[in-house]
Each structure stands twice: as structure tokens, then as C-alpha cells.
């Protein structure tokens, strides 16, 4: 068979490199969610109240909601260009497991949206008067939460990619599924501020991540096959 020596790792690396290259050649798209994230958090005190006590209390919630919405903004692009140029058909037809190819695409999406959000969050947390000792907790919740958002989001992106304007539909499909992540994400930081133990909260966030990490790509791959067949 001609496929001897055709290693899976090599294919996954080629897909990984291609995703990063394609993303970096369209850098302006990458900035959108980050600008949105920063603007929401910056405008919140101006619109509601600059009171430090109030801001400290609401900081976790505001940062988390902004991060969730920023991730959602970037989801539509996850498979869009591949669908439009026919690359998606080739991915579906590849003898390599679509499950792993989806994992790679989700990983790249997270690296380009989730990771920058996490890096920005200590700055925004400080702006919101969140005490410095709780900043690592905020980052940790985002580190566990944003990959989950990318994974859940990939299902919505895959389901709606064949529709002309799937943006609103993605949010409708995805938002209910992301609520637990949001609740436990902010809950962890609030518990930490109140001096409670956060181990249990983090464990739940980790468990949700493990669940979506294993199952979401299955659903996403199935949805992609459906979208290509339409």
C-alpha cells in the first residue's frame, strides 16, 4: 500500500502549520475579539460605577462575560474559509481521523483567541480593582474555561457553517451550553475573594474541560460531515 510511512503525526503537523499560517496572513481578524474584550471591560466602570468596592466585586463576572462573548465573536470564522474554498471537503475525505483534525483546529483557535485573553486578563483584573492575590485564580479559571468554550463553540460553528449567516444561530446553540462554565468560572474567583477553598470549583471546571475535550470533537466532526453533505 502506498500509505506505508504516511504518519498521522506528520499530517497533523501539516494541518497545524497551515492553520497558523492562514491565520497570521489575516492578522486583522485576530485583533477583533481582543479589542472587543478590552473595550467591554474598560467601558463597564464608565457606564455603571467607578466605585472600587463595587468594581472589585463585579470584576470576575465582567471579565468572564467579556471573554465569553469575545470567544463567541471569533467562532464563526473557525470553519468558514475552509467551507468556502472547498478545503473542508478534502478534510472530510482524508483517510486521517477527522476527530484529531478537529482537535488541531480547535487548539489553533484557542491559541489565537483564548490564550491572548488570558494574557490580558491580569491587566484588566487590576483595572477592575480585583486584589492582586486573586489574579492568578482568575487566570487559572480562564485557562480551564476558554478551551472549553472553543471546544463547545466548534460544534456550533460546524453546525452552522453551511448557512449564509450563521452568526446569531451559533450564539443560540452555544450559549446555553456555556452557562455552567461561566457560573463556575466567576464562582471560583468570588469564592477566592471570600476566602473559601477553590479546589472543588477548579475540579469542576477541569471536569467540564475533560468532558468536552473528549466528546466535543466527535460532535463537531459529525456536524462537519453533515454540513459538507448539504
Amino acid at each position: 500500500m502506498s500509505e506505508t510511512g504516511h504518519s498521522l503525526l506528520f499530517v497533523l503537523r501539516v494541518v497545524l502549520v497551515r492553520e497558523f499560517l492562514a491565520a497570521f496572513r489575516k492578522r486583522q481578524d485576530l485583533a477583533n475579539p481582543l479589542v472587543f474584550f478590552v473595550l467591554v471591560v474598560v467601558l463597564f466602570p464608565l457606564g455603571v460605577s467607578p466605585e472600587p468596592d463595587f468594581l472589585a466585586k463585579s470584576s470576575a463576572g465582567v471579565v468572564w462575560v467579556a471573554a465569553l462573548l469575545a470567544m463567541m465573536l471569533s467562532l464563526e470564522r473557525m470553519f468558514r474559509s475552509d467551507f468556502d474554498d472547498g478545503g473542508l471537503e478534502q478534510l472530510v475525505l482524508s483517510p486521517q481521523p477527522l476527530y484529531l483534525i478537529v482537535q488541531i483546529k480547535v487548539f489553533v483557535h484557542w491559541c489565537l483567541t483564548g490564550l491572548p485573553l488570558i494574557l490580558l486578563s491580569p491587566l484588566l483584573g487590576t483595572m477592575m480593582h480585583l486584589p492582586a492575590e486573586h489574579l492568578p485564580i482568575l487566570c487559572l479559571t480562564l485557562l480551564l474555561g476558554t478551551p472549553t468554550l472553543s471546544l463547545i463553540g466548534s460544534i456550533g460553528a460546524a453546525l452552522t457553517v453551511s448557512l449564509r449567516s450563521g452568526g446569531v444561530l451559533i450564539s443560540l446553540i452555544i450559549l446555553p451550553l456555556t452557562i455552567p462554565v461561566l457560573i463556575f468560572g466567576t464562582g471560583t474567583v468570588l469564592a477566592s475573594v471570600d476566602g473559601l477553598a477553590v479546589g472543588g470549583y477548579l475540579a469542576i471546571l477541569g471536569a467540564i474541560l475533560a468532558l468536552t475535550f473528549t466528546l466535543a470533537p466527535l460532535a463537531c466532526a459529525a456536524a462537519l460531515k453533515m454540513s459538507v453533505a448539504s
Partner: protein
């Protein structure tokens, strides 16, 4: 509707294939067999269902009745084997405009088989893209972008090619070159199923015409 005889050793075999889309019958009771070395042209007017049929054969579309057999066994049981054997080039050529010619080709080949960098360069040279390896595809003409997708053919080890309108935007000498190449590959045992509005002069060409007995 011409119905070639069915023999058990066929690489790909369709029996009583029917497809309806948007309340319109595209084709019904279509039976044919494709053997190694065959070149089959799916002909028919615009909207006759040529692309749909190719997508069904490639396993991309499942809205049909009837049976498909691959090497004598039902097709749905062995998707992975088929995907190793099948090369599909669709209407949309999977060429990403922001990537360079070489990056695009390497990706498309890697999904299917082992990549030998040197053969990529040779293939690009053959299709007339020597010197364009590091040019982003958005800077190429439509015909050149098509050639990037077609360069895959020169590298491919697949035994069954499903090619949708591959001659689109290709110039006359390119069409002649490609046709000669398809004939050579068919002689080597590759089965080729294609749609085109070009008049093909391949010696062993079989034709399946859709919409002939149309209601």
C-alpha cells in the same frame, strides 16, 4: 441512459441509484460499473445532477436511494479504505488564497498520502507553475489557481479519481496536456470519473448521460 454491464470485480459499482433534490428527480435507476483503467465521463445539461452524482460517489452526499459497492462490498462499511483510494477534486478547488502555491499543494497531498517534497516541485513544474512556489495564491489568475489544485494529480497514488469540471479556466494547451496525462494514468490502471463540457478525445472513454430519459 446507457447501462454498462456489471461484473463482480468492479472497483466502484452503482446499482439502481436514484436521487431527488428539491422535489426534482435528478436521475433514477442508474446502474454502472467502473473498473481499473476506465475513464468515465458523466455528461448532461446544466443542473442534470452531474456534480451531485460525483459527490455521491465520493461519499460526500448521502441523499440517495440505491446501492454503491466498492471492490464488491457495500460502500458505507469501509469509508476509511475508500478515502485512501479516492482522490476528489470538486468545483471548489480547496486552494486557500492566503497560502502560497507550495503550502497549498503540500497540505492537499499530505491529507491523502506521504509527501515527498521533491515530487511537489516536479508536479508544479509540470503544470507550468515553476517559479511560483512561494507566491500567495490570491495573486494568481483563476487558471493558475486551478492548476495548483490539479498539480495533486501528478503526485497522487490514488486508484480512483473523481474530478468535477477540472478543465474549467484551463487554457487549450493545458487541456491537451491534462487529457494526455489522464489517458496515461488510465493505462496504468487508475479509474477516472469526471465531468466536463469539453469534447474529450480519450480512446477508452465511457459516457454516462444524465437526464436523457428525463420527465
Amino acid at each position: 441512459m446507457s447501462i454498462p454491464a456489471i461484473t463482480p470485480s468492479a472497483l466502484l459499482e452503482a446499482s439502481e441509484l436514484s436521487c431527488e433534490r428539491d422535489d426534482r428527480r435528478l436521475f433514477s435507476d442508474l446502474s454502472f460499473a467502473v473498473h481499473a483503467g476506465d475513464v468515465v465521463q458523466i455528461a448532461g445539461a446544466n443542473g442534470a445532477g452531474k456534480t451531485t452524482l460525483l459527490r455521491i460517489l465520493a461519499g460526500l452526499y448521502h441523499g440517495y436511494q440505491g446501492n454503491l459497492f466498492f471492490n464488491g462490498e457495500r460502500i458505507d462499511a469501509q469509508t476509511a479504505t475508500i478515502n485512501e483510494t479516492l482522490l476528489f477534486i470538486g468545483h471548489k478547488s480547496a486552494v486557500k488564497p492566503s497560502l502560497t502555491v507550495l503550502e497549498n499543494l503540500r497540505f492537499m497531498v499530505a491529507l491523502q498520502q506521504r509527501v515527498d517534497e521533491r515530487s511537489l516541485y516536479t508536479a508544479l513544474e509540470t503544470v507550468g507553475l515553476a517559479g511560483y512556489e512561494d507566491v500567495q495564491c490570491q495573486n494568481l489568475s483563476a487558471g493558475q489557481q486551478r492548476r495548483v489544485a490539479l498539480a495533486r494529480l501528478w503526485v497522487s497514488n490514488a486508484r480512483l479519481w473523481v474530478l468535477d469540471e477540472i478543465f474549467t479556466a484551463i487554457d487549450l494547451s493545458g487541456v491537451a496536456q491534462l487529457e494526455a496525462f489522464l489517458a496515461r494514468k488510465a493505462d496504468q490502471g487508475v479509474a477516472i470519473i469526471l465531468t466536463t463540457h469539453h469534447r474529450l478525445s480519450l480512446p477508452s472513454l465511457k459516457k454516462i448521460t444524465l437526464g436523457a430519459g428525463h420527465v
